[in-house]
Amino acid sequence: MRATVRSHHRTGPAGRHARRTDRDRERDFVIRLQNLTKTYKTGRHDEVVALADVSIEVGKGEFVFVVGPSGSGKSTFMKLLTREQLPDKGQIWVAGKNLASLRSWKVPALRRDIGYVFQDFKLLPNKTVTENVAFAAEVLGKPRREIDRRVPEVLDLVGLEGKEKAYPHELSGGQQQRVSIARAFVNNPRILLCDEPTGNLDPTTSVGIMKLLDRINRTGATVVMATHDQHIVDSMRRRVIELENGRVVRDQSRGVYGYAG
């Protein structure tokens, strides 16, 4: 399987939006990193460069895979987007906010624009499916009536109707990940960040999860997914950003996981 490699060539958002002009896209960026560098101190003088001079732009409604081996900077990239980490150098904009200068009391507002899906689901074990999803809306102080209307809607979207009263331990891994996606999506975020969402799932279940993420992407949400799963990346044919040692070594629309061979 051989792919055309167009490294550092700015490709348009995949699929339906491919024919838009650059000018249109400028306005529609939801994620933009400019010459961003992030290092971690590992000792008094030692440091590890997690991201080195990285520039990435993600448009509204795009579906992006971020691939690369462990330690390539994927996790740091995701943490920077939610402002769990601050960059050392460079600029980063997410959902119209400049994160380098964002005041810490405004961080909750940023995170309301972002839904987060974890590899290990991170569901609260003592809450039912409905309660787990409603929890994300409750902590934002949404009115009860709106929550009662919205939660069944989202559970329906992720295909969990009939499981509303089940507890996480009564569900399969795939079902738990659907709950986690419902929770990430219940507040209608502009961006869905998925950190290895299929990492704990078998291939068949993973396909179902990817169909769901695709459906959510079609509602207009931007999806950024960090993954190791070669089959999934290859079958989806979406934009692929490959990181290696903290650098972007490939940014390709309709890409596959790796080079042939």
Partner: protein
């Protein structure tokens, strides 16, 4: 109540229940420290009560004979004594207290002990001249000059009596205050540690809340309330403890120590708000400090 507040309160109470042993330890430690704090406050009240304005103002009491132990003072002698006292350069002020005045002041002072008041015949309290000096140390001058006067029964240096009493109560009160403060710091550290453990136990939930975009205070308030509630319980317990014990102790002392007024239940009730403010304050402060680093975004 909105869903938001219901969540915050439910979380706070769940936290207390889950950590029952720790909650008990916090409540007990707050109780002990605030009981000591309350005791030292009450001791101050006791001192104020025992040294009322009159006693505080007067350094020398010159008791006058009423005929029971020495020949009663005549009106002329009394007049002469007053004139000579007022002529003394060391004397600042002279008050006359008649037998009736003395009885009135006595009944006022001991209004909480009606038995004592009943047992005292209005007639046995002597009349006196009460003298304030420019310099309290010059008591000797007055004692020397007037003790042999006809009609003078006894001259008492009130300042000396008072100073002994005050220095004793000061030591006790300061001791109680110091122990109370040390205990209060210990209680604060215990609360901080408890809240930190609670936050650690629920870190999964808080990390989800953070990523969903819950506000800082929405995440913290359940933990702070958990600490504050334990502090409040401790404060109420110490208040109750003092309310039950202090009037009883004071009652027993009043029977032992004659001629001194003692505080009662009213004074204990009045310090309650201070105890609650101290308990809630220290709990809120330590909880917030404990969460400051742990739950930062």
């Amino acid at each position: 109540m909105s869903a938001r507040w219901r969540y915050i309160l439910a979380e706070a109470f769940n936290g207390l229940r889950r950590n029952l042993m720790m909650t008990v330890a916090v409540v007990l430690s707050v109780t002990v420290s605030l009981t000591l704090l309350g005791a030292s406050l009450l001791l101050s009240d006791q001192v104020d009560l025992a040294t009322d304005d009159w006693v505080g103002k007067v350094e020398v009491s010159i008791f006058l004979c009423d005929g029971s132990t020495c020949p009663a003072i005549t009106a002329d002698q009394e007049e002469q004594l007053r004139e000579e006292l007022e002529a003394e350069p060391v004397v600042a002020e002279v008050f006359y207290e008649s037998k009736e005045d003395a009885y009135e002041r006595f009944t006022e002072l001991f209004k909480d002990q009606p038995n004592l008041v009943e047992s005292v015949d209005p007639d046995i309290l002597p009349a006196s001249f009460r003298v304030r000096l420019h310099d309290p140390a010059l008591f000797g001058v007055i004692a020397e000059q007037f003790s042999a006067y006809p009609g003078v029964e006894e001259i008492v240096d009130q300042r000396q009596v008072l100073d002994q009493f005050l220095s004793f109560t000061d030591v006790v009160r300061n001791g109680a205050l110091i122990v109370a403060i040390i205990q209060l710091v210990a209680a604060g550290v215990l609360i901080a540690n408890t809240i930190r453990l609670a936050a650690f136990a629920r870190r999964e939930q808080t990390s989800i809340m953070k990523l969903v975009g819950a506000g800082n205070w929405y995440i913290r308030l359940p933990f702070v309330l958990e600490g504050v509630f334990a502090g409040l319980l401790g404060a109420l317990a110490s208040w109750g403890l003092l309310y039950v014990s202090v009037p009883r102790v004071a009652g027993n002392l009043a029977r032992e120590v004659e001629l001194m007024p003692f505080i009662g239940a009213t004074e204990v009730l009045l310090i309650g708000p201070w105890l609650i403010a101290a308990g809630v304050g220290i709990a809120a402060f330590s909880s917030i400090v404990a969460l400051r680093r742990f739950l930062d975004i």
